[in-house]
């Protein structure tokens, strides 16, 4: 008999930790992982609401999020490898050529 809002608050906490990790960490890969954490937090929210409203579409959504997250992780890591090859560093602060 777990109140739904427990799940939701958990999801909020996980999400904010993800944001915090994103802001603090300097390693690109770790930042990427924090993104995955945020996605998972949102997935939890979806499932919780799916249960609350007895709708299956919440879970469908989670399904698709997982697929996309997988694809994104693959491509993102490929990009990180490419960056590492040229810059020889995984420090995100040194990848700032796009500044005005």
């Amino acid at each position: 008999m777990v109140p739904i809002y427990y799940y939701l608050i958990l999801s909020a906490i996980l999400f904010s930790i993800g944001v915090g990790a994103f802001l603090i960490k300097r390693n690109i890969i770790t930042i990427f992982m924090s993104i995955e954490l945020m996605l998972n937090a949102v997935n939890l929210s979806f499932v919780a609401f799916a249960h609350h409203w007895h709708q299956v579409s919440g879970q469908i959504f989670v399904f698709f999020v997982m697929v996309v997250a997988a694809a994104e992780a693959a491509v993102g890591l490929a990009i990180i490898i490419a960056i590492f090859r040229t810059r020889s560093t995984l420090n995100v602060d040194s990848v700032d050529l796009m500044k005005l």
């Binding site: 944001v19 994103f22 802001l23 300097r26 930042i31 995100v92 602060d93 990848v95 700032d96 050529l97 796009m98 500044k99 005005l100």
Partner: protein, 668 residues
């Protein structure tokens, strides 16, 4: 009912001539350019002559409606031309004298580079002048009014490479503009008061209400007078006319003697219905006229440039016309306008002939002894000089005398004073005109002595034309070609017989011109006081005064030529005052022009234009740039800062959504 008179042809044919000569004249041979210009001036003249011959069968006023122009609510202004007695007289003068001067110009300007340009501008002038005279409403007249100012500017500055000519053109235009401003205000007041600008509607309204006197009608009249003083070179806006002598001599003859400057007089005569209701305005006109006549005559006494003397003479004679209008003797004013066109046009053309004969010389001090060398010029100029001095039976006598007589018997309290001023001016007029006559044609030729004594170039810099000066000066003095002296001869004949249009009944004539214009201009207010004996007495007095002037001129410039120099030194103060034209130009410069320039330069330009307006634009730019520089720092290239901003943005969005949609958050 008359058939269509095709009035529209009269102004539009010269306009066509302007277009042709203006657009392709540069490529055409001079013969063709002259032919086009002359034909485009001849056709209107023939048209006018034709209308004149059938004039008695025309019901006046004859109005030709060419098309709607402005139609805005209740206000209506159309392209309407009209023909009545006054228009007829003006048309004859403008087209007739204009045509003669065009012929003359063919000879005078023969060596000019800008030949095509000259005739193009001259035709343009004819177009505008004819529009001014033919128009049926104030607005179309204003178009012509401004247009002749434009043509005048273009023609004064014809020798645009010469600095003084360019400046003179600008001066003419700007001073005219001041007058035009007055005219515009008058137009606005007319619209405000009458709701229309059409002559016959405005005048009909005024005539139907004999109780309307003064008030706004005075205001309108006074502003119209301001416009007239600008165009007709009266005090205080006369200063442009002497400088306008920088233009070629035919221009001075046509525009600044016979036609454009008379536009002011025409306008007052045309709106006489309005002026008759405002004694204040009439007195103003009369006083300005008399004062200007005297003032300009005094300046003309001591000028040494032949064209300057004639310029001041024009100002003075225009003063007479104003005086006539001021004492409601409008037809007398128009009569003098007509005779003045003849003899002043002739004077200028003859002066041009003299200048041409001497190879560009304009200074009378180095003229002399030309009587035998250029006889035709001499005799025609003599006719003109006699005419302007008011010696019977030449033209000027009858017209000037009529004005003086009307002034004398005018019910206006100032009448007699004005008469006296006019009389004295007549004496001055004959004096300076005969002075000019003697200095130019009589005595020993001073030209040869002068040339050896002085450097030729310094003198030529002041003359009005011709890169071939040096070569021409080597020519002996020669008479002008036929194309130049034929118009002189015609005008000379007119100067002799022109006055016979208006011989008053006291002298056995029928005063045809006054009777002709009477249906339109009415009889002067003084008509009740007319008496033959007074006419004859006053006429005799005028003739005596004129002859005195002649005598004085004879003494000073023929019999005892050393006297003028002695008088000049004895009356040094007065002489300097006159020679420097009362320092009016300098006065205007110091009081009006310089402050305006300083104001423009330092306040309007530096402060407002550069500081405020440009500054505002500049500030807008710098502000945007500043903001941009600040916002630019968001784009740091650093992913973590982007993430930070993202988080903030998400938070803001969430707040907006949550607190914006709280109402929708209903329990299930």
């Amino acid at each position: 009912m008359t058939g269509s008179l095709n009035l529209w042809l009269i102004p539009l044919v010269p306009f066509a001539g302007f277009l042709v000569n203006g657009l392709i004249g540069r490529k055409l041979p001079k013969v063709l350019v002259s032919a086009i210009a002359l034909i485009c001036t001849l056709i209107p003249f023939l048209q006018v002559a034709k209308i004149w011959f059938q004039f008695s069968s025309i019901t006046t006023p004859y109005i030709e409606h060419l098309g709607t122009w402005i139609w805005s609510g209740a206000f209506h202004a159309d392209f309407d031309l009209q023909l009545d007695q006054l228009t007829m007289v003006m048309l004859l003068v403008v087209t007739g004298v204009g045509f003669l001067i065009h012929i003359y110009s063919v000879g005078y300007m023969a060596h000019e580079e800008g030949y095509w340009r000259f005739f193009a501008y001259l035709n343009l002038f004819m177009f505008f002048m004819l529009t001014l005279v033919l128009s049926e409403n104030f607005l179309l007249m204003f178009v012509g009014w401004e247009g002749v100012g434009l043509a005048s500017y273009l023609l004064i500055g014809f020798y645009f490479l010469k600095d003084s000519a360019a400046r003179a053109g600008i001066k003419a235009f700007v001073v005219n503009r001041i007058g035009d401003f007055g005219f515009l205000i008058a137009l606005f007041l007319l619209i405000a008061r009458f709701g229309t600008l059409s002559y016959h509607e405005v005048f009909a309204q005024i005539t139907q209400h004999p109780e309307w006197q003064g008030g706004i009608l005075t205001a309108i009249a006074l502003f119209l007078v301001l416009g007239a003083t600008g165009k007709s070179a009266q005090i205080p806006l006369y200063v442009w006319l002497p400088d306008a002598m920088e233009g070629p001599t035919p221009v001075s003859a046509l525009i600044h003697a016979a036609t454009m400057v008379t536009a002011g007089v025409y306008m007052i005569a045309r709106t006489h219905v309005l002026f008759d209701r405002s004694p204040l305005a009439l007195s103003t006109v009369a006083i300005i006229g008399a004062a200007t006549a005297f003032f300009a005559a005094t300046i003309g006494l001591v000028q040494t440039d032949i064209k300057r003397v004639l310029a001041y003479s024009t100002v003075s004679q225009l003063g007479y016309m104003f005086l006539a209008c001021g004492v409601t003797a409008y037809s007398a004013g128009i009569f003098h306008l007509v005779t003045h066109a003849f003899f002043k046009g002739l004077l200028f053309l003859a002066a041009g002939s003299v200048i041409h004969a001497l190879g560009g010389e304009q200074d009378m001090r180095v003229m002399g002894g030309l009587r035998k060398k250029i006889p035709i010029t001499f005799w025609t100029m003599t006719a003109a000089v006699f005419a302007i001095s008011g010696i019977p039976p030449f033209a000027g006598f009858f017209s000037k005398d009529e004005i003086l007589y009307q002034a004398f018997i005018s019910p206006n309290s100032l009448g007699k004073t004005l008469w006296f001023i006019g009389l004295v001016t007549a004496g001055l007029t004959s004096f300076y005109m005969f002075r000019l006559w003697y200095l130019t044609f009589f005595g020993e030729s001073r030209a040869a002595a002068h040339e050896e004594a002085e450097h030729a170039a310094a003198v030529h810099a002041r003359s009005d034309t011709k890169l071939v000066l040096e070569a021409e000066h080597a020519h002996p003095v020669h008479e002008s070609p036929a194309v130049m002296w034929i118009p002189l001869a015609i005008l000379a004949i007119l100067s002799v017989i022109g006055g016979w249009l208006g011989i008053p009944s006291a002298m056995g004539g029928h005063n045809e011109i006054e009777h002709f214009l009477a249906p339109l201009l009415g009889s002067p207010a003084a008509a009740a006081n007319e008496s033959s004996s007074l006419t004859l007495i006053l006429a005799s007095v005028s003739v005596l005064v004129a002859l005195t002037g002649v005598l004085l001129a004879h003494i000073l410039y023929k019999a005892k030529p050393e006297l003028p120099a002695k008088l000049a030194t004895q009356l040094r103060g007065l002489y300097t005052l006159l020679l420097n034209k009362y320092w009016v130009d300098q006065l205007y410069g110091a009081v009006i022009v310089t402050p305006l320039l300083l104001f423009s330069r330092y306040i309007l330009k530096a402060l407002i234009d550069r500081g405020i307006i440009d500054g505002a634009g500049f500030a807008a730019g710098t502000t945007t740039q500043g903001f941009g520089a600040i916002v630019q720092r968001v784009q740091s290239g650093n992913i973590r800062s982007y993430a930070g901003w993202l988080a903030v943005g998400a938070a803001v969005l969430l707040i907006a959504v949550y607190f914006g949609f709280t109402a929708h958050f209903s329990p299930q």
